[in-house]
Symmetry: D2
Subunit: 317 residues, 4 copies
C-alpha cells in the first residue's frame, strides 16, 4: 500500500475500500450531496458522492449499458424515455443511442451536480445534455411525476440506495411510487431500476425492491452484473405489464441491436440473456422476501446496513 | 469505519480492502506462506494467506461449487479425480459429493497448512480428509505428477495466482505443465482451474492462462462467477480434448445433478450454462491475448500487478 | 505501508494511527473493557484497551517513571502508597522501587484484566503483584476510598480519560473525588495523576483537571512528557497541601534518588525539574481554564473530542 | 473513523497516520518533490511534502520558534543570517522578527515550491519573502555556499531528513558540509539544524548528526520539542565555536527577548532553557553514537527506517 492521498469508502459496516488518489480535479458540496472527482491508477477519473463511488471513467460503460439496454431493447419502439437521477449524463447517453428515441426527459434533484457533470464529466455524458431530444428538469422526481401528465415508453431509475432514515430517496422505492410510475407509462411500457448490491446476505435493497414492484407490475425480473469499479456485483430490476421483458430470445435481441445500430462495448444478445439467469441462492433469497415498502412504512437501510421500516426491523413485526 | 483490529488486504496496487477483524482464531507461518484465521462480521471466519483472502466461511460454497461442478458434471462418470492445491479441504469436499468418485487424490505442497485446516476449518472440509476415497500427498504437484503414472478423469487446479518473480507457482501455469496434466488424463478427461480475477484490464492471469491452455487442449472454455468474500469476480477455465466441456444442454446438466443427487446451494443447471456466457469486452480481451507461458519464459504478475515474463513486459518482445 | 493485520487506533476524530500487528498474544473482553495484546515491530508487545494503546513493552518505562517518581521523590518518606487503576502492574512496580514503601495498595475495578496482566504482562509488572508489601483490591476506587479509613503518603491515579457520557471514570475526575482523596492523605501527602494528552487545543482533560484540583489542593503543578508509544505528549498533575511538590532543587532530587538507590532509565534530577517547565502557550491555556468538574456537573469528552458537562458545552453556560 | 478523503502518512515502517482531509487547496509536483495542501479539522491547513507532513497552519509556530530562536538569542547581535531550505517562509519570518537582522539570505533548491508557498501559504510566510532584508536564491545550498564568500552570524538549516539512498539531502548532513558552514560563519557565529524525530530507538538521524557536528564544532548541544502536528517530538542541534550556545541563563535570554521585543507564542526564557535538558535515555543514546557521516560515506536512512552508509549498516564495519 502506498502513502499519500486516499479515499476511504464505505462498502459494508465491516469492510472498507482504500482507493489511492491521484490529483483531485474538483470537489465540493451541493445542497444534496458531497462530491469529489479524482484521478486513479486503474479506473481513470473516479466520481465519489457522499463517500461512495458513483462511477469511474474506465468502467462506467458497464454499469450504464447494463442499466439501460435490456429495458430499451425489450421495447419494440421506445420513443419517449424518462431518466430519473443519473446526474453524470451517461444513462442519458445510452438512452440516446437508440435512434427510435424522440424525447428523453431527465429529472434530477441536484442542479449543481449536473452543472459540475457538464463541466467535468465529458467522458460520461459525451454531449448528451446538448442533444436536441434531451429535456432537463431539476426537481424532486416524485413531485415532478405527480404534476406531469406525460407518458413514457421506458422509464430508467438511476437512483442512490435508500440508506439512512432521513434519506428522501427512500420515498422513491415504495409501492405508491411504482404505482405513480405505472400510471405514467404508455401501454407496453417498461420500467428499469438499479437494484442495490448483491453481497451474500446483504441484498435487502434488491429483494425488497423486487417484492415491492411485484405488487404493482405483472412482470418483474431481476438481473445482475459485475461492476469492477464498485468491487461489487449489482442487481437491476426490469418490470412491465404487457409482456415479460426478459423473455426475448437471443435472435430478437440481436435483430434489434442490429436494426438500431447500437455500438455496445459490454453487452451483446447472449450476455443480455445470461444476465437474467440468477444463481440458485439468490433466486431463493428473492423468493423468500416478504417485505413491501410503502409510503406509510418505507423501507431503508441504516448506515450500519440493517434493514428497517419506520425505525424497526421489518421482519420482527 | 470502526477502530480496532483490521486486516488490510491487497487487491490491486491502487486499491486495498480493510476488513474489520473479530477474534483471531489462529495465525502463523508455514514454510510456504503466512496464514491467519479470524472472525468477521458478515462472512463468518475468514482465512487469509499471505495477506490475501483465501476464502470465508459463509461464502466459500460459491467459489468451491463454481470451481468443481462444471468440470465434474461435464464428465459422464468421474471416478478418479485429482485436486492440486486446495488446502482448506473444501474443493475435495465438493469433489466427493459425486458418488461416482472412487478415488480422490489431493496434492498440496503445504503439509502444515493442511494440518491447520484439519483442526480449524471444519466448516470447509466437513470431514473430507477422512473420507476413505481420499488420498493425501504433500509434495510439489509438478514433481509428484512427473513421478506418478496415475491417470485421472478430472483434474481440479486450486492454486494461488502466479504473483512475484520468485513464486514457484508460476511453473504451474506453463504450457509444459498443462502438457503433463494432459498426459495424466484418462481418455475423455477434463481439467479445470481457477483463472484469476477479472477486473477490467487487470485480467492477464486469465487471458494468458486461457491462451496457454489452448496450445495444449482442443477445447478450452472460460467461465466466471462473482465471489462476494473476495469483492471480485473470478474467472475459471475448463479444458478437455474429447468434447467441449461447456456444450452440455441444461437438460443433460439437470439430469446429472439429479442422478448424482448433488445438494448444491449456488449452482443449478441454468446457472452453470449462464456462467459460460461472457460479456463482449471480456471475450475480446481473451481473443486478443497472444502470450503463451512456457517453462523457458514463464508468465507471472509483479506485486504491482504488471504482467511479466523473464523480468520483462511480455508484450514488448 | 504493508498489508496484513493492523490496529486502527483513535487519536482524535480527525487523525487515526495504523499500527502493523504481529502475532496476537491474547485478546478478549472483560466486564469493563476490550483488550488486545499483540507484537509490534518497534515497540515490542503492545497492549490496547478499547481501541487505544495503553502501553507498549519497550517504552512503558517512560510513562510509568514519569507518572510515579516526581510525586514519590517530592515526599521525604513515602511509606503508605495507594495506586488507583494501573492494571498492568507497572505503576505498582515503580512505586515499590522506593525502599521507604511499607504498604502499596492497588485498587482496580477490573479483576479480569489484572488476571490477564499477571499472566501475559510480566515485562510490565515484573512480579510486583507478588511483592509482600502489595495489597490488591478489585473495586470501584471511589466506593473503596469512601468505605476505607486508611491514610496514604502518596496517591497515584493511573486512570483512563473521561471519554463518553456513560463512562463511570468521569466521577474520578470531580472536585468531590479529589476532596475524598485529600481526606485520605496523611499530613504532607501528595497526589499525582495522569493528565490527558496535550495536543494543541485538544487539551481540555488536562486544563479542567488542573483547574478542578486547584479547588481542593493548595499546590497544583502540571508537568509533561513525550510518550513515544502513544505518539503524543502527555500531561501529568501533582498536588499537595503542605508544600509545592515541584519546588525541589536538583540537589534534593539527586540526593533522594541516590539515598533510595533508584535505578531509573528515563528520569534524572535535571530532567524531573525540566518536565515542570511548560511552554508559554500551554501555561496560558491552563491559566485561562474556568471549568470545574463536580459531581453535579461532571466533565467528560465526547467520542468526537468535544468537552461536555451534563450533555452541554461547558463554556456556553 | 470517517469515510472520505484521507492522507496516509508514513511515520515509521510499522506505524502510519491517517489524517482526514477537507478540501484540497493545491497539489502538484515540482522537479524535487510532490506537494499537497489541504484543510484539516484540528490543524487548519496541512502541507504535505512527499507524503510526510511538513507543517500545519495551527501549530507551525511551535516548530519554527523552536528551530530559530534558541540560536538567534544565543547570538548577541545577529545581523547576517542564512536560512537553508525552509520553503514555506516561516523560518525566514521568525528570523526577521529579530530587529538586529540586516540581511536574511534564504537558499532553497525548489523554486516552484517557493512560488506555491508565496501564493498559498500566507499564514506561514506572512510577507517575509517581501521584506527588504530578504535575499532569495534558488540553488543547491552546498554549491551556493561553496561559490559564495559571504559570512553569516547565524545559519539555520531547515532541511528534510536524509531518507533514501538517492536523496541528495544526505550530502547536507556530512562532516564536510559542516566544515563548509563553519567556514562561512563570522567569528561568534552559530549554526542550528532540525535534528530528526526522537522516537525511542528510531533516533539515528539525531545522534549521527550530533556526532558528526562534534567533529567540526567545539560546542554542540541537542534540544527537543513536541510538535503536535507531526505527532512526534523532534530534535534540534545548535553548534558554535566561540561559546556554548545553550549556556545562557534565563536572565540573559529574558533580557534579549525584551530588548528585541520578540512576540513569541510558544517560547519564553525558562522554556528555552528547559528544552536543552534531555531525558537520561536520550543522553545515553547520543553519547554512545560513534558514526560520523562523511562525503565518502554519507549517512542516510532507508525508507524502512534502517541506518545506512554506502548501502551497508554503519555499525557492522
Amino acid at each position: 500500500m502506498q502513502y499519500g492521498m486516499a479515499f476511504i469508502e464505505h462498502i459494508t459496516p465491516d469492510e472498507s475500500l482504500i482507493r489511492r488518489m491521484g490529483r483531485v480535479l474538483v470537489s465540493g458540496k451541493t445542497p444534496f450531496q458531497e462530491y469529489c472527482l479524482f484521478e486513479s491508477g486503474g479506473f481513470g477519473k473516479v466520481l465519489m458522492l457522499d463517500a461512495e463511488v458513483q462511477s469511474t471513467e474506465r468502467d462506467e460503460y458497464i454499469y450504464h449499458e447494463a442499466l439501460v439496454h435490456p429495458a430499451m431493447l425489450a421495447h419494440p419502439d421506445p420513443r419517449d424515455v424518462l431518466v430519473v437521477g443519473g446526474g453524470e449524463g451517461a444513462t442519458l447517453r445510452e438512452v440516446l443511442k437508440h435512434p427510435t428515441v424522440q424525447r428523453a426527459v431527465m429529472v434530477d434533484i441536484d442542479e449543481e451536480l449536473v452543472r459540475v457533470a457538464r463541466e467535468w464529466l465529458e467522458p460520461w455524458h459525451q454531449g448528451a445534455f446538448e442533444d436536441p431530444r434531451t429535456e432537463l428538469h431539476f426537481a424532486d422526481a416524485r413531485a415532478w411525476l405527480a404534476a406531469s401528465e406525460d407518458r413514457f415508453d421506458v422509464i430508467v431509475l438511476d437512483l442512490t440506495d435508500p440508506v439512512g432514515e432521513e434519506n428522501p430517496a427512500k420515498m422513491l422505492y415504495t409501492r405508491e411510487f411504482y404505482e405513480l410510475l405505472r400510471a405514467r407509462l404508455n401501454p407496453g411500457g417498461v420500467v428499469v431500476t438499479q437494484g442495490g448490491m448483491l453481497l451474500l446476505d446483504r441484498y435487502q435493497v434488491h429483494t425488497v425492491l423486487h417484492r415491492t414492484m411485484r405488487e404493482v407490475f405483472r412482470h418483474v425480473r431481476s438481473y445482475r452484473d459485475w461492476v469492477p469499479g464498485f468491487f461489487l456485483t449489482y442487481g437491476f430490476i426490469v418490470a412491465a405489464d404487457g409482456f415479460d421483458p426478459s423473455a426475448y430470445s437471443e435472435g430478437v435481441l440481436e435483430a434489434r441491436i442490429l436494426e438500431r445500430q447500437l455500438k455496445l462495448r459490454h453487452l451483446d444478445a447472449p450476455f443480455i440473456e445470461a444476465m437474467f439467469v440468477l444463481p440458485k441462492d439468490l433466486k431463493g433469497w428473492i423468493a423468500e422476501e416478504t417485505l413491501i415498502s410503502t409510503d406509510a412504512r418505507p423501507f431503508y437501510l441504516t448506515h450500519e446496513g440493517e434493514a428497517r421500516v419506520a425505525g424497526r426491523s421489518p421482519y420482527a413485526d
